[in-house]
Amino acid sequence: MLTIALIYPEILGTYGDGGNALVLVERARRRGIDADVMSVGIGDEMPDASIYLLGGGEDGPQRLGADLLRESTFVSRVRDGKYVLAVCAGLQLLGTSFAVEGDDEYEGLGLVRAVTRRGLTRAVGELLVRRDHDVLVGFENHGGRTELSAELEPFGVVERGRGNDGVVDGFRTSKIWATYAHGPVLAMNPWFADEILSTVLGRELEALGTVADDLYAERRAAVLHSAASSRRP
């Protein structure tokens, strides 16, 4: 049984982040795997789950999310080896500190050593991240600049957009995937959804052809093309 916990969708769900839970559960079920989504609301007990999903949120909600998660069993569960997918504000929450309105060093959950400061500009637009042979396509909209400690591996190398700092995006540990590609990033990147499922379930998965493959091919080509045409000589 695969259980997917969607954390505080009321405050960490600015950009259709709930789509990631839908994509994971559907791609599991279509392969005959028993899977379920648990929506964890403010005030709910943190349930036991196979993977926890953290989405994006505005400044106030992000601060509230950090406080609520700190008081919950989330941190100890992740330290005990549960999986996490974190996007946008969710990525920042997992780190040492992040900047919100009125506080440049708000305390994060400290699950990884990563510090987010305010960027000079807001990063708004398509994000393309290369990781070995894979390419992640998404959209970012954030004001952060995230610095990873030396031992923390980035999620991938930025080919278009900003990600953490214009060079790399997000981070990756054996249990955590984190990217600035916000909202329903798994909808646009079926390979990424399947990588997560396969890792969490601990086994290979058969291929699953869906219209999402066509979407991925189209977006990847569109963003690569615009990246090429906008590159300065």
Partner: protein, 367 residues
């Protein structure tokens, strides 16, 4: 014309006229049209939907009428309010729309608040069921609170004052810090519409519960302009389409009803107007600059409600839509070649976001 010039020009053009402003995420154009129609006289208005200062200047320059009603983009209120010195401001709602541009709805609410606080020359007609609107208007000198159905509040889950969770229950809402739904209503829309003690039987030609809420706000605004409300009601009831929205169109032998839906709140309202008869629905999605370039919001629309219908996917981002529908378990067809569409006898509802709606308006003809 440079936008930097517009506020000064607006100031000059608006002088000595009675100005009504309408803003909010959804319903601006319709509510503006309702106020213009309900007023029952020649009105200067930006009916083309160009709702930034250049559009306001154009509307005011095109008409000498002393009565003005302008739709205002949410982000421009801080400029347009001081420039036009309105008699009435109507604030409908605030929710996510084009997030790649306007970033965060809470910031908009904060900016509205800065321009309304202590402003005693204006009556603010405000939706009491939207906490972000209430936060914006609560410190204005004259507020007419309207208790109208507002099903979408998922963008106001944390209190704009203290960020603790807001509680919603039985047509009421509150936060632990004391911020809560206002108590004294000028207008209520439950079984019937009552504006300042007058019962006004709504019988709109326009579809949907959301348009009844828009009408309630429009009639409340008109009540502060010495307009006979019974006559205004008849004129508002008779409105059939607004800037092409809801209108019947013909295209390649199909009869279409064009419905504009630009964001999760608007889409949800529009899906609620569809009959559960399993008929075909056409949906067109673009993500151009005017739409917001990020279609992530498709995952905040309850497309699951379209199960039982067959949905044809159009627009630049039809594959994003098809993927969303696939995961929602909705029967869909990706339309790559419009010439291959099957013929239909029934009127087909076409739900389209902003530029997709304009595309369909242009390529279809009147019925």
């Amino acid at each position: 014309m440079g936008l930097a010039m517009a506020p000064r020009l607006l100031d000059d053009l608006a002088r000595a006229r009675t100005v009504v402003l309408v803003s909010g995420t959804n319903g601006k154009t319709t509510t503006t049209a309702m106020i213009a129609a309900g007023w029952g006289r020649d009105v200067a208005t930006n009916q083309t939907g160009s709702n930034m200062p250049a559009g306001h200047v154009a509307a005011l320059a095109a008409s000498q009428s002393s009565s003005v009603v302008l739709e205002v983009d949410e982000g421009w209120m801080t400029n347009v309010v001081p420039a036009t010195k309105p008699r009435v401001i109507t604030l409908l709602n605030l929710s996510r729309d084009q997030l790649d541009r306007s970033n965060e709805v809470r910031q908009i609410s904060e900016r509205w608040r800065s321009v309304l606080t202590g402003n005693d020359g204006v009556t603010v007609v405000a939706n009491a069921n939207d906490p972000l609107v209430v936060y914006a208007a609560e410190l204005a000198s004259n507020v007419a609170w309207c208790d109208i159905p507002t099903p979408w509040n998922t963008d106001a889950v944390s209190c704009p004052r203290c960020t603790l969770p807001l509680r919603f229950n039985n047509n009421s809402w509150w936060s632990e810090c004391g911020f809560s739904k206002p108590l004294k209503m000028v207008t209520t829309l439950h079984e019937e519409l009552v504006v300042r003690g007058t019962s006004l039987p709504l019988d709109l030609r326009l579809p949907g519960a959301f348009n009844e809420a828009n009408a309630a706000m429009a009639l409340t605004a008109l009540s502060y302009l010495n307009v006979d409300l019974t006559e205004a009601l008849a004129r508002v009831n008779a409105l059939e389409s607004v800037a092409g929205r809801f209108s019947l169109r013909r295209w390649r032998g199909h009869q279409l009803r064009l419905l504009l839906a630009k964001n999760p709140a608007g889409f949800t309202a529009m899906l609620n107007t569809l009959r559960a008869d399993g008929g075909d629905v056409w949906v067109a999605i673009n993500a151009r600059v005017a739409d917001g370039r990020d279609p992530s919001w498709l995952y905040d629309v309850p497309f699951e409600r379209l199960r039982g219908h067959r949905v044809y996917c159009f627009g630049d981002r039809r594959l994003d839509l098809a993927t969303r529908l696939d995961y929602a378990g909705v029967d869909y067809v990706v339309v790559h070649d419009e010439a291959l569409l099957p013929p239909s006898n029934d009127v087909i509802n076409v739900l389209a976001n902003y530029t997709a709606f304009q595309d369909w308006r242009e390529k279809s003809g009147p019925c």
